[in-house]
Symmetry: C2
Subunit: 333 residues, 2 copies
Amino acid sequence: MKKLINKSEDVVKEALAGMAVAHADLISVDMENQIIVRKNAPIKGKVGVISGGGSGHEPMHGGFVGFGMLDAACPGAVFTSPVPDQMLAATKAVSGGAGVLHIVKNYTGDVLNFEMAAELAAAEGIEVASVVTNDDVAVQDSLYTAGRRGVGVTVLVEKIVGALAETGAPLAQVAALARKVNEQGRSMGMALTSCTVPAAGKPTFELGEDEMEIGIGIHGEPGRRRVKMASAAEITEMLTSPVVEDLGLKSGEQVLAMVNGMGGTPLIELYVIYDALNRILHGKNITIARSLVGNYITSLEMAGCSITLVRLDDELAKYWDAPVHTPALRWGM
Amino acid sequence: MKKLINKSEDVVKEALAGMAVAHADLISVDMENQIIVRKNAPIKGKVGVISGGGSGHEPMHGGFVGFGMLDAACPGAVFTSPVPDQMLAATKAVSGGAGVLHIVKNYTGDVLNFEMAAELAAAEGIEVASVVTNDDVAVQDSLYTAGRRGVGVTVLVEKIVGALAETGAPLAQVAALARKVNEQGRSMGMALTSCTVPAAGKPTFELGEDEMEIGIGIHGEPGRRRVKMASAAEITEMLTSPVVEDLGLKSGEQVLAMVNGMGGTPLIELYVIYDALNRILHGKNITIARSLVGNYITSLEMAGCSITLVRLDDELAKYWDAPVHTPALRWGM
């Protein structure tokens, strides 16, 4: 294992310390509770929006804390759910009296821990709504989930819902919009290589020199099938078809498209995939009206990519376009 | 070789096609000349700012075309200089009557071709100034250069100078600022792994499972020394000390610091390096007043990082803070 780290048990703590100084204008890090909190939180009268999950998926979620997106993020150990105490601390840190939304990726550990945190927060008088994302069309149940896994759409939910929360909308409306984005979004990913969890010290799985895994999870958990290497055009087709089909996208519709890198894939290849995606959708008379290309929900240094499509309407486009200012996503300000 | 590509000879062309559709609001791509041009170019009375070099370093340079940074970029084949005809086409495309600045990384091929392009442009009545970046303290002469290599500071030159050009400043002043940033900036990089040029099909070099290369170039060319793996803190010290020493940074000074990923290193590790850098500089009473952490000048999927420091004064801070809107760098708008 070759990594730019010190002790494997210090990786998350030291990365958080680095984030805290690099983005001191936007966030503060509560090192004791291991949470990243928006600088001016809590904001009176605003719904607090938080998310969390295992580390190793950076910039998600900590890189999305700031104006117009998350109020706090709870990073667990690498590929490990954060604990309810962290989630409770984050909930309290962003509670401005209008309730708090928990955005939870569908993994059993995350779901259980966020449920417990919500109960603890309720006991302290904080109203919590939870929305579970489950956009991965690759598998029904999986190694770590009952039902579909929550993957790329989570990034887009956080952006869109964060913009609505910024307007002072009530908790029920913010939660409803989160559910809507999740329902209108689907993803599928693939890997060319495995990744190595620092504490494990060896690759999570092995792939042959001529193999790839289609439908991979973001923790290296198995996908739909392991197949021989193929071209970018073929790979894009393998990912896009199930997404388009499951979402029931029809000719004439518009989408928000994310081509996401898994962490170890160069940007030049992500643009090759985006070109292929654009051709496929153009052939179906589906228009990419908004897009995002880059590393947003990663699996450490895994090489590969995922594609997320969200059916776009005026409401979603409006909140997507709204200003955002976080370490990893910024526009309009 | 496992990559998300179709034919190796089509990688650059297809990535440019992907960029063109993903960022149609900001750039247009002239596929015949293989250049990326700012949407509203040429801008009358504004100095045009262009750069270029081999592909495989994305987002540099194409990802930096837009408001407040570059007016055009000329990507060559992977790790190969663009040709004078591309540079001439880019120069003409951005010439608004106030002259054009060529920002050239110090590699023999790039320097020669940009010189020829400048002569051709002059023959067509376009005034051109050229600034060569040479910030890499790792080696004096190298495989591809006489003198130091131009690396990370190039990104910072492009941002700062692009902001000045946006104000309508004359060519001589824009070129002088580019020279100043280069003179006040130094970099050093390292690699944990090699990378594979698509057309070559095999890794550029080999590194053992317990080895790393300190002072690596952005094309995998050799660095200062090959050493045994070390901790993030030790690696950061190996990169920072030569930079601080060569720049003659003194207690009480301020810097702009970039911790840059080589393409295959996860963001969580870059923040660990940033934390270590911050500690080292803090110990020398040098303040990081501005920072950038992420993949900005890469070597395909190489794992590793580089550190660039620029001595900061009020003038450089002002142009660094100015609005920018490009595919890869955006703030203030």
